[in-house]
């Protein structure tokens, strides 16, 4: 049973990373109908920005604000930085190509992904970097019996879930959220009603990457080691989560992310760690064959 609880917590943690990254994919896909291949690399950028803030001036931030204060500063810094990078990405790589059609946009996204991951490598080097131990909180709690959970993991899960709840509220319960959904469904009609499509795009390209950046810092704090192509795996899993939840459906993406994390962790715990990614992709393929609109997606017929 211990294994079960441990993998439950691990699954929730990694599932929240997938979910946070998946939100960004889903939002961008909704308004632009584009798989933003560079999104995983924005996650990596978040990891490195968080790392840089924590190691800068030999741990100055941690020294001044304490361990938790340092984490808050690094998270906010990374989110802001990655959000701005997202805006720049849209402006440089997508806006000028948008009119040329789907395929050039995909190539541009691949180019942006290559550019970003190699840019990160050029700046921070090709080897693994480690988050400084002095900046990572080390305490743990006993939940019940002899089952322990690290405080960091608990905080990670709680903050991630809270943020997801916030995004859910904004997207599903506010008029602004309705405007985002409306713009994704029907750009012309949204424009008629006075919704500025550019503004929606900018929002999506700031908030999506910022959440990815947050997940990047959390991943760095939890697993310590980071490398320039870290985001590709997370990105692919997150996109799988998006399909699991129904493409373009933001709450679905969150649910898909958590579900994927849990399934992966359980498979890892009870079957095999080496084969867990194969398992994940087989699930993806089976879902696309059986229910291509995702677990909570809706059927939309193509008009002939």
């Amino acid at each position: 049973m211990d294994m079960f609880y441990e993998q439950l917590v691990n699954g929730l943690a990694i599932g929240s990373f997938y979910a946070l990254v998946a939100i960004g994919y889903s939002m961008v896909y909704g308004v632009m109908k584009l798989i933003n291949f560079a999104h995983g690399d924005l996650f990596t950028l978040g990891s490195y920005l968080g790392y840089t803030i924590l190691v800068a001036g030999s741990g100055w931030v941690t020294g001044v604000f304490g361990v938790w204060g340092g984490i808050v500063v690094s998270i906010l810094g990374a989110m802001l930085g990655v959000g701005l990078a997202g805006l720049a990405l849209e402006r440089v790589a997508y806006k000028p190509v948008y009119k040329a059609g789907r395929l050039p946009l995909v190539v541009s996204a691949l180019g942006a992904s290559i550019f970003l991951s190699n840019g990160i490598m050029a700046v921070w080097g090709p080897r693994f970097q480690a988050y400084p131990m002095t900046s990572v909180p080390s305490g743990s709690l006993v939940l019940f019996g002899d089952f322990r959970i690290t405080v960091l993991k608990l905080v990670t899960i709680i903050i991630s879930l809270a943020l997801m709840a916030l995004i859910y509220f904004i997207v599903e319960k506010t008029l602004f959220g309705a405007a985002i959904r409306a713009a994704a469904l029907d750009r012309d009609t949204a424009t008629i009603l006075g919704i500025d499509f550019r503004k929606i795009i900018l929002f999506v390209f700031f908030v999506g990457p910022a959440l990815g950046g947050l997940a990047g810092v959390f991943a760095g704090l939890n697993y310590t080691r980071i490398i320039f192509n870290l985001g590709w795996g997370y990105g692919l899993k997150a996109f799988t989560a998006v399909i699991l939840g129904g493409i373009g459906n933001i709450p679905g993406a969150m649910l898909g992310g958590l579900l994927l994390g849990l399934m992966e962790a359980m498979f890892e715990g009870f079957v095999s760690g080496a084969w867990k990614n194969v398992f994940v992709f087989i699930i993806l393929i089976v879902i696309l064959i059986v229910r291509p609109t995702g677990i909570i997606g809706e059927k939309i017929a193509e008009k002939v």
Binding site: Y29, V97, I114, F115, I243, I285, L288, I289
Partner: protein, 627 residues
């Protein structure tokens, strides 16, 4: 003549003038090609070319082969495949495992690698090939990862995990073995050369055209008698089999392979080769391969930044030249670009011949006619169709008599187009039956219905926009032709005769609707009215007995409508049966023999045209109630 038409004719005249120059152009092109061939042949012996650069030349060859392999899938058919490296890997691992375990000679493993890669592709692609662009994209990424991780995990001790397999042998032809860099350079380029010859023939055949029709508009392709699923799978299997060959050559050259050779990045690079060069362009794929191999070599001194530059250049390319560097140009080549041997130099002669051979009357089916008995061409019985609870067609009965024009009218949104889609197999009716010449066709797919003699046009024009007019019309004749892959690759004499027959038929139909002079123009460049007529020619080229037209006159001006009515009357005289959806009452009343009125999915009247006008129900529903 409208301004648009006049401008257009001037443009064509200019193009033709340019094609006079193009004879000279052609000589220059051949000259360049010959120079390139000499350079490629002499390359290993040029001064300053050491073994290192010969290997670079070998790599250009490998990536050219891989680029061409993906070009079939992505470029010709438009299937987003971001997992091509998986099939490359399967070719390489098949070679490595069978060589090291069973000592099968490398050259025997070459076709085996192709078979295994293609066979695996067939198995995994069959259930997913229908998926839309992005879904297919993500699934192929998944397949790429599954294959890579499987190799990494060393199942049954076969793949030796991350270290990979060493000790793969060289190709040995008995008399001599391929060993040195120079030998490998020639070896790969001979393979690439053969593949190119085959692909050029394939591009210029009904198989290649079918692929392009699917890329341009899948639904229109299916509705024109092309078995979309079959041709997609065919492209997928051939493309992956070529990747398998590349895997074999790669393994035998380096004698060691590992999972790190077949990452997602590899698939990305192949995707980039195809798009950088231009979709469906063979020279484009070669250039793309040269760029992605040579570019990082040139920038080797900036080791850490080279991929950074590469990413930036991809974005810049897509901003300034989204169609690729060497896109395939169809409109410049004339009918000779179709690759059919022994075409007369003068395209007018070709038309004359086509007109002589053309069928002047619709051929009646021998036995089916007896079965239909009462001269009913098409009948729907109680056909119903729902969309998410909304009833679009409700227990609809429609009868179309042979040799007549039947019009289906009704307010917008009444369900007329949905009924057409049911008749032509795009939707399957939820209940009821569709009978054509007495035989049920309600469970058939569109591509199975067309060859039986039912053809259609679409309300919102669905041509193949970046193909020429003649190629568009040739799609209609596709379903009555038979030659497949190998005949097309080899351009066998019988296949050539069939191609010529298809061309003649298309030429005749194009001439019949008055668009012969536009034959080599891309469909998307035609004015609206001409595009509508082109669709009719395309439908006619399938030699149907029943022609279904969805709002043929919408968007046409009075003169064009007049012409259309003339054409439709001539078609009936030729023996065609016509079913129209039409809004223009002058057309409906002027030429139809019978009118059926549809409203909210149900039939509210069926009568002679002039009687329909006096039917109070019709006046109320369709023409508006008198206040």
């Amino acid at each position: 003549m409208s301004d648009v038409t006049r401008n257009f004719l001037q443009r064509i005249a200019r193009l033709q003038k340019r094609s006079a120059f193009s004879a000279l152009d052609k000589r220059i092109q051949w000259g360049l090609l010959a120079a390139l061939a000499v350079f490629m042949l002499a390359y290993p012996f040029l001064p300053f070319i050491n073994n290192y650069w010969i290997d670079v030349g070998f790599f250009v060859g490998i990536y050219a082969l891989l680029g061409l392999s993906l070009n079939i899938i992505l470029g010709e058919v438009g299937l987003f495949n971001l997992g091509q490296a998986a099939f490359y890997a399967i070719g390489a691992y098949t070679t490595a495992i069978l060589y090291t375990q069973l000592h099968i000679p490398i050259i025997i493993l070459l076709p085996i690698s192709a078979l295994v890669a293609g066979g695996f592709a067939y198995l995994v692609a069959s259930p997913i090939i229908h998926l839309r662009g992005d879904y297919l994209c993500i699934v192929t990424i998944g397949i790429g990862e599954i294959v890579r991780i499987t190799a990494l995990n060393n199942p049954f001790g076969l793949t030796n995990g991350a270290n990979g397999i060493t000790g793969i042998g060289n190709p040995d032809f008995g008399l001599f073995a391929v060993r040195t860099s120079t030998q490998f350079y020639y070896y790969i380029w001979i393979i690439v050369g053969l593949v190119i010859l085959g692909l050029i023939n394939l591009q210029k055949s009904r198989v290649g055209r079918a692929w392009n029709y699917i890329r341009e508009d899948e639904i229109a392709a299916e509705a024109n008698g092309i078995d979309v699923r079959h041709y997609k799978l065919l492209a997928f299997v051939i493309g992956t089999a070529l990747a398998g060959i590349a895997g074999n050559v790669f393994g035998s050259k380096f004698m060691i392979i590992s999972p790190s050779n077949f990452t997602f990045m590899e698939s990305c690079l192949l995707f980039v080769i195809v798009l950088l060069g231009g979709l469906g362009s063979i020279p484009g794929s070669l250039l793309g391969a040269a760029i992605i191999v040579i570019f990082p070599e040139i920038f080797r001194q900036f080791a850490t930044y080279r991929m950074l530059f590469f990413g930036a250049i991809l974005i810049i390319m897509m901003i300034f030249r989204p169609e690729g560097i060497l896109p395939r140009r169809r409109e410049r080549t004339g009918l000779r670009g179709l690759g059919i041997r022994k075409l007369p130099q003068d395209e007018g002669k070709l038309l004359e011949e086509a007109l002589q051979k053309a069928p002047k009357k619709v051929e009646k089916p021998g036995q089916a006619n007896a079965a239909s008995g009462e001269g009913i061409a098409l009948e729907t019985q109680h056909v119903s169709m729902n969309f998410g609870g909304l009833v679009a067609v409700n227990k609809f009965d429609l009868k179309v008599r042979e040799g007549e024009i039947t019009s289906l009218i009704g307010p917008n949104g009444a369900g007329k187009t949905t009924l057409f889609n049911v008749i032509t197999g795009i939707y399957r009716p939820e209940s009821g039956k569709v009978l054509f010449e007495g035989r049920e066709i309600s469970n058939l797919k569109p591509h199975q219905i067309i060859p039986r003699g039912v053809a259609r046009t679409f309300q919102n024009i669905r041509l193949f926009p970046s193909l020429t007019c003649i190629e568009n019309v040739m799609s209609g004749a596709h379903c009555h032709a038979h030659h497949g892959l190998w005949a097309s690759i080899l351009h066998l004499p019988a296949q050539q005769r069939e191609e010529r027959h298809i061309l003649n038929l298309a030429a005749y139909r194009l001439h019949q609707v008055g668009l012969w002079e536009y034959r080599n123009e891309l469909a998307r460049n035609l004015p609206y009215g001409k595009q509508k007529t082109l669709e009719i020619a395309r439908a006619l080229a399938s030699s149907p007995r029943l022609l279904i037209l969805d709002e043929p006159s919408s968007g046409l001006n009075d003169a064009e409508t007049e012409e259309l009515m003339g054409l439709l009357t001539r078609l009936v005289a030729e023996g065609f049966t016509l079913l129209l959806i039409e809004h223009d009452m002058n057309v409906v009343m002027g030429i139809s023999n019978s009118v059926t009125v549809m409203e909210m999915g149900t039939k509210i009247a069926e009568d002679l045209p002039r009687k329909i006008y006096n039917n109070p129900k019709v006046i109320e529903a369709y023409l508006g109630k008198e206040e």
